[in-house]
Amino acid sequence: MRAGLPFALPAALLAVSFGVLAEPLMGLTATVVMSLVVYAGTAQFAALSVLLSGGGVAPAVTAGMLVNLRFLPMGLAAAPSLHGGPLQRALEGQSVVDVSWAMASDGRGGFDRDLLVGATFPQYVGWAAGTLVGALFGDALGDPEALGLDAIFPAFYLALLVGEVRGGRALSAALLGGAIALLLLPIAPAGVPIVAASLASLIALVGRAGEAPPPRARPSGEPPPAAAPPQGSDTTP
C-alpha cells in the first residue's frame, strides 16, 4: 500500500478540479458518488464535459466508456497474476488503474498482484477526498485552470512513462503509440486515440520470428508487404 502513497496526493489534487467543475452541474452528492463508483478520472472528465455541453446519457456514457476501454487490454494483461476464483479475480481486476497497473508491470508480461491491489487503496481515498473538497469549496478555490490543475494529469502520466521506458523497444512502442494518438485525436471520438495507441505494443512481435514459429498467413485485410520500390521512384529522374 505504501507504494501508492506518493500518488494519493496528485490524485487528490486532480480530484479537486473534478469536484470544482462537476458540482455546479451535478450537485454535491452526485459528484462525490461518481468518484466513488466510477473512480476513473479521465472517464469522469469525459462524461462531465459531454453533460456540460448539454449532451444526454448515451453520449456521456459512451465518451466515458471509450476512455475506459484501455482497461480491457490492461485487465487481460494483469489477469494471470491475480489470485482466486472468477469472482475474486473480477474484484481484484477492479484495482486496475493507470498508476498501480504501470507500477506493478514488470515489463515482461508479469504483474505484482500485491502492488497492483495495494497501491490502488491510497489513490482511491485521495480521489474521493479530493472530489469532496473540490465540490465543497469550489467557490473559494476559483478556476481550476487558473491554478494549473489541468496540467497535473499529463505530468503524472509523464512521470509514470519515464519509469516504464527502459530499453529501445519500449521507446519505439512509446513513440509509435504517441504518433497513433496524435493522428487520431482530431478525427476519432474521445478515448479512441488512447485505445488505438495500445496497438503499438504489437511491435514486440517484430524480430521474434527467429525464436518462435512464424505467424500464419497475413490477415486478408492487410496488404502484402510492398515490393521494394524502384530506385529513386520518389524523385524525378
Partner: protein, 106 residues
C-alpha cells in the same frame, strides 16, 4: 438544464460499464498463463498507452481537437523536474505551478 435523472443514469451506467470492462480480462483468462509472444506484447502495453495519455491530456481540448496552451509549458517543467530526479509529487506540483504562472502572465 441537465435533469437529475440524466446525471444519475450517466453515473450508474458508466460505473457498470467500467466494472464490466475491468472484469472481462480476469474472468475470461482465469489463471492461464500467456504464451510468450502474447506476454511480450502485454509487457510493451504501458509505454504507448502512457504516451498517448500524456499527449491527449496535454494538447487535446477534450472535444476532439487540439488546443496548444500553457499545459505545454507545464509539461516541459515536469520533464525538467523528472530529469532532475525529483519525486512524483514535486513533479506534478511544479507542472501545475508552471502552468498557472504562464496563464497569469498571458
Amino acid at each position: 438544464m441537465t435533469s437529475s435523472t440524466t446525471i444519475w443514469l450517466t453515473i450508474g451506467l458508466l460505473a457498470l460499464v467500467t466494472i464490466v470492462i475491468k472484469a472481462v480480462g480476469p474472468i475470461t483468462l482465469g489463471n492461464r498463463t500467456l504464451s510468450p509472444p502474447v506476454a511480450a506484447v502485454v509487457g510493451l502495453l504501458a509505454p504507448p498507452l502512457l504516451t498517448a495519455l500524456v499527449l491527449v491530456e496535454t494538447v487535446g481540448d477534450g472535444e476532439g481537437g487540439f488546443s496548444l496552451d500553457a499545459r505545454l509549458g507545464g509539461l516541459a517543467a515536469a520533464a525538467i523536474a523528472l530529469a532532475l530526479k525529483l519525486p512524483t509529487l514535486a513533479v506534478v506540483v511544479i507542472a501545475a505551478v508552471a502552468t498557472a504562472l504562464l496563464r497569469a502572465l498571458a
